[in-house]
Structure formats: C-alpha cells, structure tokens
C-alpha cells in the first residue's frame, strides 16, 4: 500500500489584468481581466482557434502578453516556473520515449528541483501500478496520459495547467480519465486551469467555466459550476443542464 505523502499545494490565485496578445496582424486575445480563485479549477471553453490555448500559454509564461500583467499569487509566471511551482499537461502526453514510466514521472520532480518521494504513490493513484517499468511505447494512449498527469502532479505544483490533456484519447477512455484523475488535484487544493473543446468535460472537471468569444478572445460568459462530487459524471442530469447553459452562450459559426 502506498504510504501517505503530502501533496497539498496551497495553490495561488491567478490574476490577469488587461492582458492582450496578437501574432503579427492577428489579434488573438482582446483585453482580458479576470481572477481565478486559488485552489479551484477553471475551464476555458470557446470556438476552436479562439485563443484559449494562448491564454493558458501566457499563464504558463510560455508566451509573453503584448500588454497587461499576469500574476500567479504575487509573482510573474517565469518566477513561479523557476521555483518549480508550475506544471502542465499537454494534449500530446510528451513522455520521453527512452525513460520508463517511473523515470518519466520522476522527471517532473527532477525539473522542479523537488524531492521525488511521491513518484510511486502517484503511479499507484493514476492506476499505473503494474507499469512503472514500462516504456511509453508499450502503453496505450490513455495510460500515457495517466503517466503525464502523474508527472504534472509529482512536483506538488501551486498551479496546474491542462491543455486538452484528454483530447487525444477515445471517448470511453476519456470519460474514465475524467472521473478518476481530477480528484487528484481537486482534493489537494491545487489551482488548475483547463482548456478543452468539450463543454461536458469542462462542466465535469471545473468549479467555473469561462466561455470565450471567437478571435480575438473575450470572456462572454462566466458560469459557476456548483456540483457535489457525486454529481460530477458525464451522464448526470445536473451536468447536462449546466452544459446546456454553457452551449447557449457559445458563438458557434459552423
């Protein structure tokens, strides 16, 4: 049995103040001002290409805003990154093919310069117990995504960024991962931001859904998701009703 490990992170709030971004002549993000509460999961949804990934990448410090400021707690993203306070899961699990699952998960701690004592616990928790010695090539798509989530949690990040992490797996695997993995960060008080194409997934995983307009991205709706844990499933009445609310605010063109 895995021994208990402190993974509580005391997440920080994310403050975006009048943030804009364009690429050449294309305006990707119009002025966005929003505060994402500490310890909560916020989902960004919107039409494809609307700039939601750009917002996520700016919070991650991977892109710099043209104007405006982003603070994680009281620090700019790069400073938080340098002290190992950030983690991210991508659509592509981006595991290193030459490392086995254990070493891939440990990479998160290694890069964040944090102790690696939670590695085995997390491998158990994401359901990869028997696969710690396997290389990514020997795993299914869903298993690789589990390993990537474990890697992103192993450093006990203050802020967890999720860029379509379940976008590349099939629908059945996706709904299982949606049910099994989010409690790992929700229950530990990590501040999380999720970008997803799936409105239902946004509702199931988050405490708040921000609906973005077509490019340049603005926030057109801000919907609180107040669900008890047992209501968070893909086919519950409550989820369907909230998903309907979110859909009605989306500007879908085709």
């Amino acid at each position: 049995m895995a021994r208990p490990v402190a993974l509580d992170t005391g997440g920080a709030a994310i403050r975006c103040e009048a943030v804009t971004k364009s690429f050449g002549k294309v305006a990707a993000v119009a002025s966005i001002t929003v505060t994402l509460a500490a310890g909560r999961t916020t989902a960004l949804v919107g039409p494809s290409g609307c700039g939601k990934s750009t917002i996520l990448r700016m919070i991650a410090g991977l892109e710099a805003p043209d104007s405006g400021t982003i603070l994680l707690g009281s620090d700019p993203p790069k400073a938080v990154a340098r002290r190992g306070g950030l983690a991210m899961a991508f659509q592509d699990p981006s595991l290193l093919p030459w490392r086995d699952v254990r070493a891939n998960v440990a990479l998160g701690a290694e890069l964040a310069r944090k102790p690696a004592d939670a590695v085995d616990t997390l491998i158990e928790l994401v359901g990869l117990g028997g696969f710690a010695g396997h290389r990514p090539a020997e795993l299914s798509g869903g298993m690789r995504q589990r390993a990537a989530i474990a890697r992103s949690l192993v450093s006990a990040p203050e802020i967890l960024l999720l860029d379509e992490p379940f976008g590349a797996v099939d629908a059945m695997t996706r709904s299982r991962l949606n049910a099994e993995l989010p409690p790992l960060w929700r229950d530990r008080g990590t501040t999380a931001v999720l970008v997803t194409h799936s409105v239902e997934e946004a509702v199931v995983l988050s405490d708040r859904v921000l609906v973005l307009s077509d490019r340049p991205a603005r926030i057109v709706a801000d919907i609180a998701i107040d669900l008890a844990p047992d209501q968070r499933g893909h086919d519950t009445q409550a989820v369907r009703a909230l998903a309907q609310d979110v859909f009605s605010t989306l500007e879908l063109k085709d």
């Binding site: 991650a60 410090g61 991977l62 790069k78 990154a81 340098r82 002290r83 190992g84 950030l86 983690a87 991210m88 991508f90 592509d92 981006s94 290193l96 030459w98 998160g108 890069l111 964040a112 450093s155 960024l161």
Partner: protein
Amino acid sequence: MVASRSVLWLAVALIAWEALDRALHDSVLVAGPIAILGHLMDNAGLLARATAETARNAVLGFLWGNLAAAALAALVVVVPRLERVVSALALLLFSLPLIATGPILRVLFGPGNGPQVTLAALAVYYTTFLALLVGLRAVSQSWTDLMAIYGRGRWSTLLRIRARASLPYLVIGLQIAAPAAFLGAMIGEFTGAERGLGVLTLRAMRGLETEATWALAVLSAGTAMAAYGAIGWLGGRALGYVPVILLSASRPRASRSFAARLIEAAGIALLVVALWQVAMDAFDLNRFFAKRPGDVLTFLATPANRQTLLAALGETIAFTIPGYVAGLVMGAGLAALLVLSPPLERATMPIAVALRAVPIIATAPLLVLAFGRGFTGTMVIVAVMIFFPTLVACLQGLRQAPGQIVDLFGLYSASRWHLLRSVRIPAMLPAFFASARMAVPAALLAVTTAEWLATGRGIGVLMAMTASTSDYNMLWSCVAALGLVAAAFFAAVALVERAVLARYAPEQLA
C-alpha cells in the same frame, strides 16, 4: 537463412572474380582473390604495421572531427541565429577537396601525422554535424514547453532532452564517419607521409604492382567497412533502433530575394578571407609557406600565373561535370527502375546502403587500372563516388510517395509507369536534389584525387607539383580557386533545384 544466402553470394562473387583473373591471364588489370590473399600473407607484417598507422590517424581524426561536429551542432541549436553562418562556413570548408587541404597542412605541420589526423577530422565533421542537427531538433515542441514550464532554459533542454533524442542520429553520423575518417587519413598519407596504407598504395601504383594495389584496396576498404559495420551494430544494440535519414546541407530558403542572398554570400566570403588572415597571423605562421589572402591576390595579378591556374582549373571542371551528371543520372535512374520491382528493391537497398560507405578513393587506383589514366578513368571515379549515395537517397525518396495516392492510382488500375511519372518521381525530387548538393564536394574530391594520383592533369596535379617545388603562392591560389569553384558549383545546383522544384514540387519550397 539470410546469413547463409549472403555467404553463398559471397562465394559466387569470389569464384567469378578468380575466374576473371584467370581469363585475363597476365593482365595488369585484375588480381584474383587467391593472389590477393597470397600478397596479404606474404607481407602480413608490413601491412599490419601500415594498417595500424593509418587506423591510429583515422581514430584520432574521428575523435577530433566528431567532437568539433558536436560542439558546432550544439552551438547552432542553442543560438539559432548563428546557424546560417556556421552552416555556410562548415560547408565551404567541407567542400574544399582534402587533396587540396592536404599539401597546405603538410607545409603547416611539417613531417609527422598532423595532416593525416586533421584530414581525417575534416572528412568526418560535416556529415556528423548534419546528422546531429537533425537529431538535436527531433524534439517535439511540448518537450521544450515542458522544460520552460519548470523554468529550465536552452542549455538544460540541450543536455536533458536534445542530447538524448539525438543519439540515434549520432549513431548514423558516426557510422558514416568511420570510413570517411579512414579515407581522410589515407589522403593525408598520399600528400607526403612516411608510413601507412596510403604510402604503400602510392608505391604500388607507381610500380604498376597489380597484386599489391588490389591487396591494399581490399585491405583499406575492408578495414573501413568493418568500422562502419561495428558502429552500426553497437549503436543498434545500444539503442534498439536506428532511424533512416538523409544527410544533406539544408536547402537555401526560397523566401529570400536574390539580392539578399547575394549580400549574404558576399558577407560570408569576406568572413572567410578575414578568418584566413587572422588564423595565419594569430599563429604567427611563416609568410614563406603560410600565404595570406593578399599574397594570393598579388600572385594572381600576374597574367602568366593566372593563366596556368585557369588552364588547370578548366581541365578539372571539364573532367568533373560529365562524371557528376553520369553518377546522378545512373543513381536516380536505377532507383526509379528498382521501385518498379519491389522484391528487387528490397534486395538492393541494404547492399547499396553498405556500398555507399565504401571509401571509393581507396578503390580509385583499381578504377585507374581498369579505365586508364585519361578522361574515362577520371569520369568513372567521379561517377562511382556519387552513384551509391544518390541511389540510396533516391530509393528513400521514392518511398515517400503518399500511400493513399498510390492506392488511388491502383484503384483506377493506372500503369506503373504512370504512377512513377506522376507520383513517385515528383516525390523523389527533393531527395534527389539533396544528394545532388552533397555530391558536389564528393565530385571535387574524387576528381582532384584522381588527378593527383594518376591522370597527371588538372588542378590536382598542379597542386602536387607546386607542393614539391615549394611554389606556395600557386598552392594557396589553387586552394582558394577550388573553394570558389565549390561555392559556385553548389550555388548552381541550388539554382537548378529551385527551378525544378518550383515546377514539379512547389510545396517543397514553401
């Protein structure tokens, strides 16, 4: 099964070879396997010492050259802005035929193994550099993002991710480098050493000793191929797989205007001249043999000097181009024919891949024996040098034809020729031109080496003469002229490539 069939083929080849030797009784052309074996056994001590000497120089050059390649590749990946200049300089230096660099190094180093080691290093650094560039960049963006998320920079990404990701590509680079290093060391020995296989080869050729010439060619090609095989085997065992990649200088980008490219070329030329001057001054090399750019300009201002140089250069170019074209056409043509017959293609590919690595120069003396010291012999050496790399590259290119389009043609029962013409050849063009660019240095090396060794014409022999008569002004002028020719040749190929791709594969220029 495969092994036993290979042994069978080898036995058939050896018997045919021996029969040919018997049939051409008393000829100076061919020595049979039995005679070669006899020569190897009779001179075992001498040959072992010579092989050890050449191998030692090759190994030292292999180490230095690959270290330099790794350093250059790492620099370019960490500071991408330097890529164009570093790549252009690396290519220019690589395009200078080793046989031209050899005499210069000989006068700079004096006696000893300095030139052999340096030439071996020069022979290997460029292909390893290219392989590493591909490998260090074989990294997905999410990996580099991952590093940035944890606040890690370029160096950390280089060490933790890129270095490891590039290992399979490094294996390919090292594999190709092994015979090349051997070749470089031998050319160093051609240009005036006391010991080694190159020295023995020269002696055997000059004495018209057929058995010795064959025995030395077999010995040096065999040693080089053994190193090639050993590195591939070790790499495959250590990594589990080795990818297939084309090694070629990157194509000049199309988006840039002609004027911009001209300015860049001029800038690089100035940089080369400045580096030349600074290097000579920095080591305070004697002006008597270490000529500066100014010395060469003054020397070439005299019409008689200019005429001698241009006459020799003209001969060399006239010998190079037919061989170059023949090698490319035969390589691409055979590839196109082979792809019509998949079983034949599968059988040919591994042989062609292995033969690509044979140091053709080591067999040049044999080709000279067979085809004479004139135009035909030189042309054959150039063509053979280019043929195998082109064949391999084009076979790989032909496989790039998108499977669904091939299926589409099959669905309409289109003929193989139709498919070849409309789909496969356009898909092959980028690989063809990639090998056409890499064939430029190879052709210049082959032609100058043939001239130096055998034909007694062209700039190769002019350099050999000036080196022995201490006419260092002419020697340096020859090297500078060859550098210019290489650059112009390369630019001409790139121009043709652009025109053809614009017509048949415009997506490649995007």
